[in-house]
Protein backbone atom coordinates (compact mmCIF):
# COMPACT_ATOMS: atom_id res chain seq x y z
CA UNK A 1 0.00 0.00 0.00
CA UNK A 2 2.79 2.37 0.99
CA UNK A 3 4.68 1.51 -2.21
CA UNK A 4 1.57 2.18 -4.24
CA UNK A 5 1.21 5.60 -2.63
CA UNK A 6 4.84 6.45 -3.46
CA UNK A 7 4.29 5.26 -7.04
CA UNK A 8 1.18 7.41 -7.37
CA UNK A 9 3.03 10.41 -5.95
CA UNK A 10 5.92 9.98 -8.42
CA UNK A 11 3.46 9.60 -11.31
CA UNK A 12 1.64 12.72 -10.15
CA UNK A 13 4.88 14.74 -10.01
CA UNK A 14 6.04 13.47 -13.40
CA UNK A 15 2.65 14.25 -14.89
CA UNK A 16 2.51 17.68 -13.30
CA UNK A 17 6.02 18.71 -14.42
CA UNK A 18 5.13 19.81 -17.97
CA UNK A 19 2.15 21.75 -16.68
CA UNK A 20 4.25 23.48 -14.02
CA UNK A 21 6.90 24.21 -16.60
CA UNK A 22 4.33 25.68 -18.95
CA UNK A 23 3.02 27.95 -16.19
CA UNK A 24 6.38 29.64 -15.71
CA UNK A 25 6.17 30.91 -19.28
CA UNK A 26 9.77 29.91 -20.05
CA UNK A 27 10.23 29.83 -23.78
CA UNK A 28 12.08 26.95 -25.41
CA UNK A 29 15.49 28.05 -26.62
CA UNK A 30 16.06 25.28 -29.16
CA UNK A 31 15.40 26.73 -32.65
CA UNK A 32 15.27 23.37 -34.43
CA UNK A 33 12.25 22.03 -32.59
CA UNK A 34 10.19 24.94 -31.42
CA UNK A 35 10.14 27.63 -34.06
CA UNK A 36 8.58 27.99 -37.43
CA UNK A 37 11.07 27.67 -40.29
CA UNK A 38 9.75 30.67 -42.12
CA UNK A 39 10.38 34.12 -40.78
CA UNK A 40 7.63 36.41 -42.04
CA UNK A 41 9.76 39.44 -41.61
CA UNK A 42 13.44 39.96 -42.09
CA UNK A 43 14.46 41.35 -38.71
CA UNK A 44 18.21 41.71 -38.35
CA UNK A 45 19.75 42.17 -34.95
CA UNK A 46 22.80 44.41 -34.64
CA UNK A 47 24.97 44.32 -31.53
CA UNK A 48 27.48 47.01 -30.61
CA UNK A 49 29.28 48.31 -27.57
CA UNK A 50 27.13 50.85 -25.72
CA UNK A 51 28.86 54.19 -26.35
CA UNK A 52 29.89 56.65 -23.61
CA UNK A 53 29.59 54.25 -20.70
CA UNK A 54 31.76 52.61 -18.07
CA UNK A 55 31.73 49.26 -19.89
CA UNK A 56 29.80 46.04 -19.17
CA UNK A 57 27.04 46.91 -21.65
CA UNK A 58 26.17 45.97 -25.23
CA UNK A 59 23.29 47.58 -27.10
CA UNK A 60 21.23 45.34 -29.36
CA UNK A 61 19.14 47.11 -32.00
CA UNK A 62 16.71 45.99 -34.69
CA UNK A 63 14.32 47.62 -37.10
CA UNK A 64 10.63 46.91 -37.06
CA UNK A 65 9.51 48.17 -40.42
CA UNK A 66 6.92 45.78 -41.84
CA UNK A 67 4.09 43.45 -40.91
CA UNK A 68 4.77 42.67 -37.23
CA UNK A 69 4.19 45.94 -35.41
CA UNK A 70 2.30 44.29 -32.53
CA UNK A 71 4.67 41.34 -32.15
CA UNK A 72 6.91 40.64 -29.18
CA UNK A 73 10.59 39.82 -29.12
CA UNK A 74 12.76 38.00 -26.62
CA UNK A 75 16.47 38.72 -26.89
CA UNK A 76 18.83 35.82 -26.20
CA UNK A 77 22.56 36.21 -25.55
CA UNK A 78 24.96 33.62 -26.98
CA UNK A 79 28.12 33.20 -24.96
CA UNK A 80 29.97 30.27 -26.50
CA UNK A 81 27.80 27.25 -25.74
CA UNK A 82 25.75 29.11 -23.19
CA UNK A 83 22.50 30.89 -24.00
CA UNK A 84 20.56 33.16 -21.69
CA UNK A 85 17.60 35.50 -21.99
CA UNK A 86 18.50 39.20 -21.85
CA UNK A 87 14.99 40.64 -22.11
CA UNK A 88 11.69 38.87 -22.48
CA UNK A 89 8.62 39.81 -24.52
CA UNK A 90 9.59 43.32 -25.53
CA UNK A 91 7.42 45.19 -28.02
CA UNK A 92 9.06 44.91 -31.43
CA UNK A 93 8.57 48.64 -31.85
CA UNK A 94 11.01 49.26 -28.97
CA UNK A 95 13.81 48.51 -31.46
CA UNK A 96 16.55 48.55 -28.83
CA UNK A 97 17.65 46.80 -25.66
CA UNK A 98 20.74 47.15 -23.52
CA UNK A 99 22.44 44.06 -22.13
CA UNK A 100 24.16 45.22 -18.94
CA UNK A 101 25.23 41.81 -17.73
CA UNK A 102 28.29 41.22 -19.90
CA UNK A 103 32.00 41.14 -19.22
CA UNK A 104 34.32 43.58 -20.99
CA UNK A 105 36.51 42.42 -23.91
CA UNK A 106 34.53 39.22 -24.40
CA UNK A 107 32.59 38.45 -27.58
CA UNK A 108 28.85 37.95 -27.44
CA UNK A 109 26.23 37.58 -30.13
CA UNK A 110 22.45 37.66 -29.91
CA UNK A 111 19.35 36.32 -31.57
CA UNK A 112 15.69 37.16 -31.11
CA UNK A 113 12.64 34.96 -30.66
CA UNK A 114 9.70 36.75 -32.19
CA UNK A 115 6.20 35.98 -30.97
CA UNK A 116 3.67 36.88 -33.63
CA UNK A 117 0.16 38.13 -32.72
CA UNK A 118 -1.19 34.62 -33.52
CA UNK A 119 1.23 33.12 -30.94
CA UNK A 120 3.76 31.60 -33.33
CA UNK A 121 7.46 31.71 -32.61
CA UNK A 122 10.14 32.71 -35.11
CA UNK A 123 13.85 32.81 -34.59
CA UNK A 124 15.98 35.54 -36.14
CA UNK A 125 19.50 35.03 -37.44
CA UNK A 126 22.37 35.58 -35.05
CA UNK A 127 23.62 39.13 -34.73
CA UNK A 128 27.19 40.19 -35.38
CA UNK A 129 29.51 39.46 -32.45
CA UNK A 130 30.24 42.44 -30.21
CA UNK A 131 32.49 43.27 -27.27
CA UNK A 132 31.85 45.81 -24.54
CA UNK A 133 34.45 48.26 -23.30
CA UNK A 134 34.61 51.36 -21.12
CA UNK A 135 35.14 54.81 -22.65
CA UNK A 136 37.32 57.44 -21.04
CA UNK A 137 35.40 60.35 -22.48
CA UNK A 138 31.62 60.72 -22.60
CA UNK A 139 31.01 62.66 -25.81
CA UNK A 140 27.38 63.29 -24.74
CA UNK A 141 28.76 65.58 -22.08
CA UNK A 142 31.01 67.67 -24.31
CA UNK A 143 28.81 70.73 -23.69
CA UNK A 144 29.29 70.29 -19.92
CA UNK A 145 33.05 69.99 -20.44
CA UNK A 146 33.20 73.18 -22.50
CA UNK A 147 31.02 74.99 -19.93
CA UNK A 148 33.27 73.80 -17.07
CA UNK A 149 36.35 75.05 -18.93
CA UNK A 150 34.76 78.41 -19.70
CA UNK A 151 33.41 78.94 -16.18
CA UNK A 152 36.75 77.87 -14.68
CA UNK A 153 38.45 80.53 -16.80
CA UNK A 154 35.96 83.17 -15.59
CA UNK A 155 36.62 82.13 -11.98
CA UNK A 156 40.40 82.13 -12.41
CA UNK A 157 40.30 85.58 -14.04
CA UNK A 158 38.28 87.15 -11.21
CA UNK A 159 40.38 85.46 -8.53
CA UNK A 160 43.48 86.84 -10.26
CA UNK A 161 41.87 90.30 -10.20
CA UNK A 162 41.30 89.88 -6.44
CA UNK A 163 44.93 88.80 -6.01
CA UNK A 164 46.06 91.96 -7.80
CA UNK A 165 44.24 93.94 -5.14
CA UNK A 166 40.91 94.76 -6.77
CA UNK A 167 38.26 94.96 -4.07
CA UNK A 168 34.87 93.36 -4.54
CA UNK A 169 31.58 93.98 -2.82
CA UNK A 170 29.16 91.45 -1.31
CA UNK A 171 25.62 92.45 -0.49
CA UNK A 172 24.04 92.14 2.96
CA UNK A 173 22.56 88.74 3.84
CA UNK A 174 20.27 89.24 6.85
CA UNK A 175 20.20 85.60 7.91
CA UNK A 176 23.98 85.53 8.30
CA UNK A 177 24.10 88.86 10.12
CA UNK A 178 21.62 87.42 12.61
CA UNK A 179 23.99 84.62 13.70
CA UNK A 180 25.68 86.79 16.32
CA UNK A 181 22.31 88.01 17.59
CA UNK A 182 21.04 84.43 17.93
CA UNK A 183 24.15 83.17 19.74
CA UNK A 184 24.14 86.25 22.00
CA UNK A 185 20.47 85.74 22.87
CA UNK A 186 21.09 82.07 23.79
CA UNK A 187 24.02 83.11 25.98
CA UNK A 188 21.96 85.74 27.78
CA UNK A 189 19.23 83.19 28.44
CA UNK A 190 21.77 80.63 29.64
CA UNK A 191 20.51 78.09 27.11
CA UNK A 192 22.37 75.99 24.54
CA UNK A 193 22.27 76.42 20.77
CA UNK A 194 20.89 73.65 18.60
CA UNK A 195 22.35 73.19 15.12
CA UNK A 196 20.43 70.79 12.86
CA UNK A 197 22.17 69.68 9.66
CA UNK A 198 19.12 67.96 8.19
CA UNK A 199 19.01 64.55 6.61
CA UNK A 200 21.64 65.01 3.92
CA UNK A 201 24.90 63.11 3.59
CA UNK A 202 28.35 64.61 3.66
CA UNK A 203 28.35 64.36 -0.14
CA UNK A 204 25.40 66.75 -0.49
CA UNK A 205 26.36 70.34 -1.24
CA UNK A 206 23.77 71.88 1.18
CA UNK A 207 25.19 69.72 3.99
CA UNK A 208 28.70 70.94 3.18
CA UNK A 209 27.39 74.55 3.21
CA UNK A 210 25.66 73.81 6.53
CA UNK A 211 28.95 72.56 7.98
CA UNK A 212 30.66 75.79 6.86
CA UNK A 213 28.06 77.88 8.69
CA UNK A 214 28.38 75.54 11.69
CA UNK A 215 32.06 76.47 11.99
CA UNK A 216 31.12 80.13 12.32
CA UNK A 217 28.28 79.44 14.79
CA UNK A 218 30.47 77.14 16.90
CA UNK A 219 33.29 79.72 17.00
CA UNK A 220 30.87 82.42 18.17
CA UNK A 221 29.38 80.02 20.72
CA UNK A 222 32.86 79.17 22.03
CA UNK A 223 33.67 82.88 22.41
CA UNK A 224 30.41 83.36 24.35
CA UNK A 225 30.94 80.11 26.33
CA UNK A 226 27.69 78.54 25.15
CA UNK A 227 27.27 74.89 24.25
CA UNK A 228 26.26 73.77 20.74
CA UNK A 229 24.07 70.67 20.36
CA UNK A 230 24.36 69.04 16.94
CA UNK A 231 22.01 66.06 16.49
CA UNK A 232 23.03 64.18 13.33
CA UNK A 233 21.24 61.93 10.87
CA UNK A 234 24.31 60.37 9.26
CA UNK A 235 27.36 58.97 11.08
CA UNK A 236 29.84 60.47 8.60
CA UNK A 237 28.16 63.88 8.91
CA UNK A 238 28.40 63.48 12.70
CA UNK A 239 32.13 62.75 12.47
CA UNK A 240 32.67 65.75 10.21
CA UNK A 241 30.54 68.00 12.46
CA UNK A 242 32.60 66.91 15.49
CA UNK A 243 35.79 67.89 13.66
CA UNK A 244 34.29 71.25 12.60
CA UNK A 245 33.06 72.13 16.11
CA UNK A 246 36.34 71.02 17.70
CA UNK A 247 38.37 73.14 15.29
CA UNK A 248 36.12 76.17 15.88
CA UNK A 249 36.46 75.87 19.65
CA UNK A 250 40.24 75.62 19.24
CA UNK A 251 40.30 78.68 16.92
CA UNK A 252 38.30 80.61 19.52
CA UNK A 253 40.94 79.70 22.11
CA UNK A 254 38.55 77.47 24.07
CA UNK A 255 39.53 73.85 23.25
CA UNK A 256 38.75 72.94 26.89
CA UNK A 257 35.08 73.92 26.41
CA UNK A 258 34.60 71.48 23.52
CA UNK A 259 32.25 68.61 24.39
CA UNK A 260 32.40 65.74 21.90
CA UNK A 261 29.09 64.30 23.20
CA UNK A 262 27.21 67.45 22.19
CA UNK A 263 27.52 66.36 18.54
CA UNK A 264 25.58 63.12 18.57
CA UNK A 265 24.04 60.55 16.24
CA UNK A 266 20.25 60.13 16.41
CA UNK A 267 19.14 57.71 13.68
CA UNK A 268 19.16 57.43 9.93
CA UNK A 269 15.38 57.12 9.73
CA UNK A 270 13.78 60.37 8.57
CA UNK A 271 10.89 60.53 11.04
CA UNK A 272 12.80 58.77 13.79
CA UNK A 273 15.31 61.62 13.46
CA UNK A 274 12.51 64.21 13.51
CA UNK A 275 10.97 62.62 16.63
CA UNK A 276 14.36 62.46 18.38
CA UNK A 277 15.28 66.07 17.58
CA UNK A 278 11.82 67.32 18.55
CA UNK A 279 12.05 65.56 21.91
CA UNK A 280 15.52 66.98 22.49
CA UNK A 281 14.30 70.48 21.61
CA UNK A 282 11.45 70.23 24.13
CA UNK A 283 13.77 69.02 26.89
CA UNK A 284 16.86 71.15 26.30
CA UNK A 285 14.89 74.27 25.24
CA UNK A 286 17.68 75.87 23.15
CA UNK A 287 17.65 79.65 22.83
CA UNK A 288 18.58 79.50 19.16
CA UNK A 289 17.91 76.82 16.56
CA UNK A 290 19.83 76.66 13.29
CA UNK A 291 18.37 74.49 10.53
CA UNK A 292 21.06 74.48 7.87
CA UNK A 293 21.40 71.67 5.33
CA UNK A 294 19.24 69.34 3.32
CA UNK A 295 15.67 68.95 4.57
CA UNK A 296 12.65 67.11 3.30
CA UNK A 297 9.26 66.33 4.86
CA UNK A 298 10.58 66.74 8.42
CA UNK A 299 11.35 70.46 7.88
CA UNK A 300 8.03 71.83 9.16
CA UNK A 301 7.94 69.40 12.12
CA UNK A 302 11.34 70.67 13.26
CA UNK A 303 10.72 74.35 12.51
CA UNK A 304 7.31 74.33 14.25
CA UNK A 305 8.74 72.72 17.39
CA UNK A 306 11.55 75.30 17.44
CA UNK A 307 8.96 78.04 17.06
CA UNK A 308 6.80 76.59 19.88
CA UNK A 309 9.67 76.74 22.40
CA UNK A 310 10.31 80.38 21.49
CA UNK A 311 13.79 79.89 20.04
CA UNK A 312 15.20 82.32 17.50
CA UNK A 313 15.44 80.28 14.31
CA UNK A 314 17.75 80.71 11.34
CA UNK A 315 17.08 78.25 8.54
CA UNK A 316 18.64 77.58 5.17
CA UNK A 317 18.30 74.95 2.49
CA UNK A 318 18.38 74.52 -1.26
CA UNK A 319 15.26 72.34 -1.29
CA UNK A 320 12.69 74.61 -2.91
CA UNK A 321 9.79 72.46 -1.64
CA UNK A 322 10.87 72.98 2.00
CA UNK A 323 11.82 76.66 1.85
CA UNK A 324 8.18 77.86 2.21
CA UNK A 325 7.94 76.13 5.60
CA UNK A 326 11.13 77.74 6.81
CA UNK A 327 9.97 81.14 5.57
CA UNK A 328 6.71 80.65 7.49
CA UNK A 329 8.11 79.25 10.75
CA UNK A 330 11.62 80.73 11.13
CA UNK A 331 12.90 84.21 11.88
CA UNK A 332 15.48 84.23 9.09
CA UNK A 333 15.82 82.02 6.04
CA UNK A 334 18.77 81.62 3.73
CA UNK A 335 17.27 80.89 0.33
CA UNK A 336 19.23 78.49 -1.86
CA UNK A 337 22.40 80.17 -3.06
CA UNK A 338 22.51 82.55 -0.09
CA UNK A 339 23.55 79.50 1.89
CA UNK A 340 26.35 78.75 -0.56
CA UNK A 341 27.58 82.35 -0.35
CA UNK A 342 27.74 82.09 3.45
CA UNK A 343 31.39 81.01 3.62
CA UNK A 344 32.46 84.02 1.53
CA UNK A 345 30.16 86.39 3.41
CA UNK A 346 31.45 85.33 6.81
CA UNK A 347 35.16 85.38 5.96
CA UNK A 348 35.14 88.26 3.43
CA UNK A 349 38.30 86.75 2.00
CA UNK A 350 39.21 88.82 -1.11
CA UNK A 351 40.03 85.71 -3.16
CA UNK A 352 36.71 84.10 -2.31
CA UNK A 353 34.93 87.37 -3.08
CA UNK A 354 36.43 87.04 -6.55
CA UNK A 355 34.66 83.72 -6.96
CA UNK A 356 31.32 85.33 -5.98
CA UNK A 357 31.80 87.96 -8.70
CA UNK A 358 32.62 85.21 -11.19
CA UNK A 359 29.41 83.42 -10.21
CA UNK A 360 27.45 86.61 -10.85
CA UNK A 361 29.10 86.93 -14.26
CA UNK A 362 27.89 83.43 -15.13
CA UNK A 363 24.37 84.53 -14.17
CA UNK A 364 24.73 87.56 -16.45
CA UNK A 365 25.77 85.19 -19.24
CA UNK A 366 22.67 83.06 -18.62
CA UNK A 367 20.47 86.19 -18.77
CA UNK A 368 22.11 87.19 -22.08
CA UNK A 369 21.49 83.70 -23.51
CA UNK A 370 17.86 83.90 -22.38
CA UNK A 371 17.42 87.29 -24.08
CA UNK A 372 18.98 85.96 -27.29
CA UNK A 373 16.65 82.95 -27.01
CA UNK A 374 13.67 85.29 -26.56
CA UNK A 375 14.56 87.34 -29.64
CA UNK A 376 15.21 84.29 -31.79
CA UNK A 377 12.04 82.66 -30.41
CA UNK A 378 9.93 85.67 -31.43
CA UNK A 379 11.54 86.04 -34.87
CA UNK A 380 11.90 82.30 -35.58
CA UNK A 381 9.10 80.06 -34.26
CA UNK A 382 6.94 83.14 -33.50
CA UNK A 383 7.01 85.04 -36.82
CA UNK A 384 8.16 82.06 -38.88
CA UNK A 385 11.32 83.63 -40.36
CA UNK A 386 13.39 80.67 -41.52
CA UNK A 387 16.87 81.93 -40.76
CA UNK A 388 15.96 82.83 -37.16
CA UNK A 389 14.14 79.56 -36.82
CA UNK A 390 17.34 77.74 -37.77
CA UNK A 391 19.40 79.84 -35.37
CA UNK A 392 16.89 79.19 -32.57
CA UNK A 393 17.06 75.43 -33.17
CA UNK A 394 20.86 75.61 -33.24
CA UNK A 395 20.88 77.48 -29.90
CA UNK A 396 18.56 74.90 -28.30
CA UNK A 397 20.74 72.10 -29.69
CA UNK A 398 24.02 73.47 -28.30
CA UNK A 399 22.42 74.05 -24.88
Amino acid sequence: MKKLCYLLLIMLLVGAYPALHAQTGTMPLDPDTAYSDTIPTEIVLRAEDTPNDAGSAITVTWECNDNLPSGLITIVRINGEEESIVAEDLMLTKEQVRDTDVADDKEYSYYGIITSPDNKYYRTKDSNPAKSEAQWFNTDRTDSFVAVLFITLVFVWFIQQAKKGKSFYIRKINGLDAIEEAVGRSTEMGKPIMYILGIGYVTDIPTIAGLTILSRVAKKAAEYDTSVLVPCYDPVVMTTAQEVVKESFTEAGRPDAYQKEDTMYITQDQFGYAAGVDGMMMREKPGAVFLQGLFFAESLILAETGHSIGAIQIAGTTETAQLPFFVAACDYTLIGEEMMAASVYMDKNPLMLGSIVAEDMVKVLIIVILFIGLLLGILGPGLGIDIFNNWFEWLIRII
Binding site: Y169, I173, V202, T267, A275, L300, L323, I378
Partner: protein
Protein backbone atom coordinates in the same frame (compact mmCIF):
# COMPACT_ATOMS: atom_id res chain seq x y z
CA UNK B 1 -18.33 48.77 15.53
CA UNK B 2 -15.79 45.96 15.63
CA UNK B 3 -12.57 46.71 17.44
CA UNK B 4 -9.52 45.05 15.97
CA UNK B 5 -8.25 41.90 17.65
CA UNK B 6 -4.88 42.10 15.90
CA UNK B 7 -2.13 42.90 18.42
CA UNK B 8 -0.01 44.72 15.79
CA UNK B 9 -2.88 47.04 14.89
CA UNK B 10 -3.24 47.85 18.59
CA UNK B 11 0.48 48.56 18.93
CA UNK B 12 0.44 50.78 15.81
CA UNK B 13 -2.65 52.64 17.01
CA UNK B 14 -1.32 53.24 20.53
CA UNK B 15 2.04 54.43 19.15
CA UNK B 16 0.18 56.76 16.75
CA UNK B 17 -1.74 58.26 19.68
CA UNK B 18 1.47 58.50 21.72
CA UNK B 19 3.15 60.50 18.94
CA UNK B 20 0.07 62.74 18.54
CA UNK B 21 0.12 63.43 22.30
CA UNK B 22 3.14 65.67 21.57
CA UNK B 23 0.63 68.20 20.23
CA UNK B 24 -0.50 68.71 23.83
CA UNK B 25 2.98 68.72 25.40
CA UNK B 26 6.06 66.57 25.85
CA UNK B 27 4.97 63.62 28.00
CA UNK B 28 5.91 60.09 29.00
CA UNK B 29 3.90 58.44 26.19
CA UNK B 30 5.64 60.53 23.55
CA UNK B 31 9.00 59.76 25.14
CA UNK B 32 8.27 56.01 24.98
CA UNK B 33 7.15 56.20 21.32
CA UNK B 34 10.15 58.38 20.43
CA UNK B 35 12.61 55.94 22.03
CA UNK B 36 10.96 52.96 20.30
CA UNK B 37 11.03 54.73 16.90
CA UNK B 38 14.67 55.78 17.22
CA UNK B 39 15.81 52.42 18.65
CA UNK B 40 13.92 50.24 16.18
CA UNK B 41 15.05 52.35 13.21
CA UNK B 42 18.71 52.11 14.27
CA UNK B 43 18.43 48.34 14.72
CA UNK B 44 16.66 47.91 11.41
CA UNK B 45 19.15 50.10 9.51
CA UNK B 46 22.05 48.24 11.10
CA UNK B 47 20.75 44.96 9.68
CA UNK B 48 20.12 46.63 6.29
CA UNK B 49 23.71 47.91 6.21
CA UNK B 50 25.01 44.49 7.28
CA UNK B 51 23.24 42.69 4.45
CA UNK B 52 23.35 45.34 1.71
CA UNK B 53 26.85 46.68 2.35
CA UNK B 54 29.04 44.37 4.43
CA UNK B 55 27.78 41.12 2.88
CA UNK B 56 26.77 42.26 -0.62
CA UNK B 57 29.52 44.78 -1.33
CA UNK B 58 32.46 43.55 0.75
CA UNK B 59 32.19 39.89 1.80
CA UNK B 60 30.72 38.42 -1.41
CA UNK B 61 33.00 40.25 -3.89
CA UNK B 62 36.06 39.53 -1.75
CA UNK B 63 35.44 35.92 -0.76
CA UNK B 64 33.30 34.58 -3.60
CA UNK B 65 34.37 36.66 -6.63
CA UNK B 66 37.99 37.21 -5.47
CA UNK B 67 37.69 40.88 -6.43
CA UNK B 68 40.56 42.31 -4.39
CA UNK B 69 39.88 45.89 -5.50
CA UNK B 70 37.23 45.91 -2.77
CA UNK B 71 40.08 46.09 -0.27
CA UNK B 72 40.64 49.79 -1.11
CA UNK B 73 37.17 51.01 -0.03
CA UNK B 74 37.29 48.49 2.83
CA UNK B 75 40.48 50.09 4.17
CA UNK B 76 38.98 53.57 3.72
CA UNK B 77 35.93 52.43 5.69
CA UNK B 78 38.04 50.88 8.43
CA UNK B 79 39.97 54.15 8.78
CA UNK B 80 36.77 55.68 10.16
CA UNK B 81 37.26 53.53 13.26
CA UNK B 82 40.40 55.52 14.05
CA UNK B 83 38.04 57.90 15.83
CA UNK B 84 37.86 55.35 18.62
CA UNK B 85 41.57 55.87 19.36
CA UNK B 86 42.52 59.15 20.97
CA UNK B 87 45.46 60.72 19.19
CA UNK B 88 44.75 58.84 15.93
CA UNK B 89 41.29 60.31 15.29
CA UNK B 90 42.70 62.61 12.58
CA UNK B 91 43.15 59.56 10.30
CA UNK B 92 39.36 59.48 9.83
CA UNK B 93 39.71 62.69 7.83
CA UNK B 94 41.21 60.70 4.93
CA UNK B 95 38.03 58.75 4.03
CA UNK B 96 35.87 61.82 4.68
CA UNK B 97 38.06 63.90 2.34
CA UNK B 98 37.87 61.13 -0.27
CA UNK B 99 34.06 60.92 -0.07
CA UNK B 100 33.51 64.70 -0.11
CA UNK B 101 36.02 65.29 -2.93
CA UNK B 102 34.70 62.49 -5.12
CA UNK B 103 31.05 63.45 -4.64
CA UNK B 104 31.73 67.12 -5.31
CA UNK B 105 33.64 66.28 -8.49
CA UNK B 106 30.95 63.91 -9.68
CA UNK B 107 28.22 66.49 -9.08
CA UNK B 108 29.87 68.99 -11.47
CA UNK B 109 28.67 67.48 -14.79
CA UNK B 110 25.17 66.73 -13.49
CA UNK B 111 24.88 70.27 -12.10
CA UNK B 112 25.75 71.72 -15.50
CA UNK B 113 23.30 69.40 -17.22
CA UNK B 114 20.56 70.61 -14.86
CA UNK B 115 21.55 74.21 -15.55
CA UNK B 116 21.35 73.63 -19.32
CA UNK B 117 17.95 71.96 -18.96
CA UNK B 118 16.64 74.92 -16.99
CA UNK B 119 17.97 77.44 -19.52
CA UNK B 120 16.50 75.38 -22.35
CA UNK B 121 13.17 75.07 -20.53
CA UNK B 122 12.99 78.84 -20.08
CA UNK B 123 13.49 79.57 -23.80
CA UNK B 124 10.10 80.57 -25.21
CA UNK B 125 9.33 78.40 -28.24
CA UNK B 126 5.90 79.99 -28.55
CA UNK B 127 5.35 83.70 -27.98
CA UNK B 128 2.69 83.69 -25.28
CA UNK B 129 1.91 85.54 -22.06
CA UNK B 130 2.74 82.49 -19.94
CA UNK B 131 6.16 82.08 -21.53
CA UNK B 132 6.99 85.74 -21.03
CA UNK B 133 5.99 85.52 -17.34
CA UNK B 134 8.32 82.51 -16.95
CA UNK B 135 11.16 84.39 -18.64
CA UNK B 136 10.66 87.54 -16.54
CA UNK B 137 10.40 85.40 -13.39
CA UNK B 138 13.65 83.55 -14.13
CA UNK B 139 15.62 86.68 -15.02
CA UNK B 140 14.44 88.75 -12.04
CA UNK B 141 15.05 85.81 -9.69
CA UNK B 142 18.59 85.50 -11.06
CA UNK B 143 19.07 89.22 -10.36
CA UNK B 144 17.90 88.68 -6.76
CA UNK B 145 20.76 86.21 -6.38
CA UNK B 146 23.39 88.73 -7.54
CA UNK B 147 25.70 89.03 -4.55
CA UNK B 148 28.37 91.36 -5.86
CA UNK B 149 25.97 94.21 -6.64
CA UNK B 150 24.21 96.40 -4.13
CA UNK B 151 20.45 95.92 -4.37
CA UNK B 152 19.68 99.60 -4.90
CA UNK B 153 18.22 101.60 -7.78
CA UNK B 154 17.34 99.59 -10.89
CA UNK B 155 18.94 96.36 -9.60
CA UNK B 156 17.04 96.78 -6.32
CA UNK B 157 13.70 97.13 -8.13
CA UNK B 158 14.37 94.13 -10.38
CA UNK B 159 15.46 92.00 -7.42
CA UNK B 160 12.25 93.00 -5.58
CA UNK B 161 10.27 91.66 -8.54
CA UNK B 162 12.46 88.53 -8.29
CA UNK B 163 11.74 87.96 -4.58
CA UNK B 164 8.04 88.50 -5.30
CA UNK B 165 8.17 85.69 -7.87
CA UNK B 166 10.03 83.52 -5.35
CA UNK B 167 7.38 84.16 -2.68
CA UNK B 168 4.54 83.40 -5.12
CA UNK B 169 6.30 80.12 -5.91
CA UNK B 170 6.73 79.38 -2.20
CA UNK B 171 3.04 80.08 -1.55
CA UNK B 172 1.99 77.66 -4.25
CA UNK B 173 4.43 75.00 -2.99
CA UNK B 174 3.24 75.54 0.59
CA UNK B 175 -0.39 75.01 -0.38
CA UNK B 176 0.38 71.91 -2.45
CA UNK B 177 2.46 70.34 0.34
CA UNK B 178 -0.15 71.10 3.01
CA UNK B 179 -2.72 69.30 0.86
CA UNK B 180 -0.42 66.27 0.69
CA UNK B 181 0.10 66.38 4.49
CA UNK B 182 -3.65 66.57 5.08
CA UNK B 183 -4.13 63.46 2.96
CA UNK B 184 -1.49 61.70 5.12
CA UNK B 185 -3.37 62.83 8.25
CA UNK B 186 -6.64 61.53 6.80
CA UNK B 187 -4.91 58.19 6.14
CA UNK B 188 -3.87 57.99 9.80
CA UNK B 189 -7.34 58.89 11.07
CA UNK B 190 -8.83 56.25 8.74
CA UNK B 191 -6.43 53.71 10.22
CA UNK B 192 -7.53 54.60 13.76
CA UNK B 193 -11.26 54.67 13.02
CA UNK B 194 -11.47 51.81 10.53
CA UNK B 195 -8.63 49.35 11.14
CA UNK B 196 -8.42 49.82 14.90
CA UNK B 197 -11.84 50.84 16.21
CA UNK B 198 -13.93 49.65 13.27
CA UNK B 199 -16.16 52.71 13.54
CA UNK B 200 -16.15 53.42 9.81
CA UNK B 201 -16.15 51.07 6.83
Amino acid sequence: MSISTNIWVWIAALLTLAIYSFLYKDNVFYKIAEKILVGVSIGYLLSVYWHNTIIAKVWNPLVQDKNFLVIIPLILGLLMFSRLFKGRAYISRIPIAFVVGTATGMSVPSSFENLFKQVQGTMPTVFSFGNIVILVGVITTLVYFFFSLEHKGFIGKVSKVGITFIMIGFGAAFGATIMARISLFIGRIQFLLRDWLGVIQ
